[in-house]
Amino acid sequence: MNIFVCVKQVPDSETQIKVKPDGSGIEEGNIKWIMNPYDEYGVEEALRIKEKKGGEVTVISVGPARVMETIRTALAMGADKGIQISDPAFDGADAYAIASALAAAIKAQPFDLVLCGQRAIDDDAGQVGSILAELLGIPQLTVVTKVDVEDKTVKAIRPIEGAQLLIEATLPCLITAQKGLNEPRYASLPGIMKAKKKPVDMKDAAALGVKPEAKARIIRLTPPPARAPGKIISGDDPAQKAAQMARLLREEAKVI
């Protein structure tokens, strides 16, 4: 089984995000970079499938030189090899451009399964997986919490509003991982040592034959809208405070 996992490097979720004064982007100075948490589920699932079915796990990342760290993290967890796609042409690229690069890299060899995170926690877009599946011409099973790979098909559990679906798709197929899919392993010390020697292929836009053209553009970033300051209901008696809160919800906010 040839399994590809797309991993994105994103700011740690604790990171303070500061919008540049001109709104063109965020200040990248003090950011701690990590593997997108949903992609960790993707890597873990790929490794488990490989352990059961055999095959090879390749991790791919698009981004500047620093994304090598994220690729090495996945290799240290147990992936076999990496592809790093770095090109200034992909700075600030939209989901379609990223998916085009990933598709070009994946298409160059045989593939059975492609795993992505259900969304990246920086742009919170949840687009790249589906666009990639479309460009590869394969079915998608998105936001899934359980995966069973059989010979020609994959079965997955997909939670939706008020229900859980059991869906089957034919292979090759693209899956996007949701929390609950598995518990990602930590890289072991020997794993980290081994990762240093695993091959990582370097590609740029020209090598892949893709030319990113923006389809969506961020005009401006702003800090989140401020919320009006709230009321702390004072007093010593829990019952009285509760009564006051109930009254405010009913009479002032009119939400109950």
Binding site: A133, V143, I160, A216, T222, K231, P238
Partner: protein, 325 residues
């Protein structure tokens, strides 16, 4: 030239979902600004009867695509049908819900139609004839204004954020052939297991009563269930509570859980970590009950009580019951 503001209506078991009316109401507003029509794509099998409901919220024309293969949602079936009619009629704007189905479909369509998409938008407007969508990024630590450069301009809208506005229009039904005859879909829904809580899904709830590590144990949630019963609410949880195994994954609110926008979110024993806030800060009203006056949740709360939740919540339930009886 591309023209018209369209929505993809969402139906399940032959009933329109509330997001469909939210989409129609937004589309009406945008179309009026542009002086264009509102179109709604309605897919399914035996769903023609739903067209008048869409008309009530401002839809001028319903593009009805029916096929037994569309009775339940699949990515490939729905993407094929939507792409076919969109390519034929060339609408300028296409709105979907940022719901489970809408997220899956909108992103696949962005690929199929080679166009841009603004996911999970919380505001949309027209500037110089183009759609500008505002959406949270970095878990709500920043907001971005997105312009879609290509057509159709696709945006998915966060459920429960946009008001539903009645505005009756003709809703003329125009049938089209979704082009599925003779094709085998690559995905199949084998089983649907419905939740048995009898409460609305968190993403659709008007009121959410949510508990965190401060609930101490799974049994602690009993008092939240009782408050939820009185308020017709759904019970949510922080990741700490889910990871402890006290509540199921589907109850988790936050960056790695659900994004919710109820009218009222009551956070009990939740500190208000940034990853939790990411999932609930677009709630219209937020209440916090926490014994730590310094808990960051209070900075987001409209009403707060600093006290032991095990003393406050049962009283709150009693008071609400009194007010609502």
């Amino acid at each position: 030239m591309a023209k018209g503001v369209w929505i993809v209506a969402e139906q399940r078991d032959k009933a329109l979902r509330k997001i469909s009316f939210e989409l129609a109401s937004v589309a009406r507003r945008l179309a009026d600004e542009l002086g264009e029509e509102v179109g709604a794509i309605l897919l399914g099998a035996g769903v023609e009867g739903l067209a008048p409901e869409l008309a009530k919220y401002g839809v001028d024309r319903v593009y009805l695509g029916e096929d037994p293969a569309l009775a339940v949602y699949t990515t490939d079936g729905y993407a094929q049908a939507v792409a076919k009619i969109v390519k034929e009629k060339d609408p300028a704007i296409l709105l979907l819900g940022s719901s489970a189905e809408g997220k899956d479909l909108s992103s696949r369509l962005a690929g199929r139609l080679a166009t841009g998409l603004a996911t999970d938008s919380v505001d949309v407007k027209i500037v110089s004839g183009r759609l500008i969508a505002t959406r949270p990024l970095y878990a709500g630590k920043s907001f971005g204004e997105i312009e879609i450069v290509t057509n159709p301009q696709i945006a998915s809208l966060r459920p429960n954020v946009f008001p539903v506005v009645e505005n009756p229009k003709a809703g003329a039904v125009e049938r089209f052939d979704p082009g599925l005859a003779g094709t085998t879909l690559a995905t199949k829904v084998l089983e649907v297991q419905k939740d048995t809580t009898g409460r609305p899904d968190l993403t659709e709830a008007n009121v959410i009563v949510s508990g965190g590590r401060g609930m101490k144990a799974p049994e602690g949630y009993q008092i939240l269930e009782e408050l939820a019963d009185v308020l017709g609410a759904t019970v949510g949880a922080s990741r700490a509570a889910v990871d402890a195994g006290w509540r199921p994954q589907k109850d988790q609110v936050g960056q790695t859980g659900k994004v919710v926008s109820p009218n009222l979110y009551v956070a009990c024993g939740i500190s208000g970590a940034i990853q939790h806030l990411a999932g609930m800060s677009s709630s219209k009203y937020i209440c916090a009950i926490n014994k730590d006056a310094e808990a960051p949740i209070f900075a987001k709360a409209d009403y707060g009580i600093v006290d032991d939740l095990f003393k406050v919540v049962p009283e709150l339930t009693k008071e609400c019951k009194k007010l609502l009886s």
